[in-house]
Subunit: 208 residues, 2 copies
């Protein structure tokens, strides 16, 4: 019945709760999920949620933190790699993120809606400013501009376009699938295509 994404170390009930919480929170968001939904998804007694995690809010915070660090952390690693060129970074981001999101397609919308609901609180926990501004990526971007390899001077446009091309289709997945009667496999195939195409598109957009 239940079944969700990660079914590995669900040995302990604590893990069972976290896995179930992830599934339900991802799908419905904080406000719309009932603690009873989580308990049912986990096949456990409702009181166990409070026994192990004190409150719905605390449980949510934990899921949120893990989700964020998984999502943003890998971005930081890629952007900060001294060994890869700008072009290689684009290839890596497209590939890794499409693979990553394909496994948990609900994550982007989840993150976006929860940031909307609580921007100050959530953003203060994320060192986005540092990740972007102090990154090897930014250095390489500025060099590329000086060397006239790139015309667009604003790295924000570059990043927004890249991430938009990667993430946006997942966010509008229900619309896409509805617009052409696609099955999940066909949608996934579309995203696989995009792993190759996005770096090419980015090059076409920005290469001088």
């Amino acid at each position: 019945m239940s079944a969700s994404a990660s079914e590995k170390k669900d040995s302990t009930t604590e893990e069972k709760i976290k896995t179930a919480a992830k599934t339900v929170f991802y799908k419905k968001g904080f406000a719309a999920t009932r603690t009873r939904d989580i308990a049912e998804e986990a096949g456990l007694n409702l009181a166990l949620l409070n026994y192990y995690f004190r409150s719905k809010a605390k449980l949510f915070e934990i899921i949120m933190a893990e989700t964020f660090s998984g999502f943003i952390g890998s971005m930081k690693v890629i952007l900060d790699d001294e060994k890869t060129s700008l072009e290689q970074k684009v290839i890596t981001i497209a590939k890794r993120y499409i693979d990553f999101i394909s496994v948990e397609p609900e994550i982007p919308t989840f993150i976006l809606t929860e940031i909307r609901n609580n921007p100050e609180e959530l953003l203060k926990k994320l060192p986005i400013k540092e990740i972007v501004n102090d990154s090897v990526f930014i250095k390489q971007f500025q060099e590329a501009i000086q060397n006239k390899e790139i015309t667009e001077p604003n790295p924000l446009h570059f990043l927004m376009n890249l991430l938009g091309l990667v993430v946006f289709p997942f966010i509008v997945k229900p619309i896409i699938m509805g617009s052409r009667n696609l099955e999940t496999e066909q949608f996934d195939a579309l995203m696989q295509e995009r792993k190759k195409k996005i770096p090419i598109w980015i090059n076409m957009m920005f290469k001088a």
Copy 2:
């Protein structure tokens, strides 16, 4: 105190409620808004919501329907214009949607999260399939491919990229602003830039 986007025909209490409902629903989504929030935002007695709209769900349905038809309807008009070329359509979409969303920046995330929460129900009301497949745009796109003016054969990639470039920045607006300490005006300026740049980028990506 309250204050929101549209403050025109707020004469009747029915209109006051709808305006307040829009404001709150857009910002918090269906599940997280309390009918009391709406009443307070409108400066009205709580019972009036039920007097005029029967229930929270009915009120939401009305707001949703108006929001959708505003958003999708203008898309249909643009895509179906026999008089404009493919290139002109891209220019129009970038311009009109960036202007439109700039006035009500919460709309994209609102639509996306509510579609997530209720895909079947909401999508069945929207003739997306027809709008996309029977449009002048699709005809023109296929012609452009036959004439080898465009290399990408799949119109979904074209539309996803175009809409992603337009809409995605608004969805991640809090992150963008946080990442560089931008003020709202600076973010808006970025979006104004994109009105010009997006058509150019689309050309670079797809023009043979």
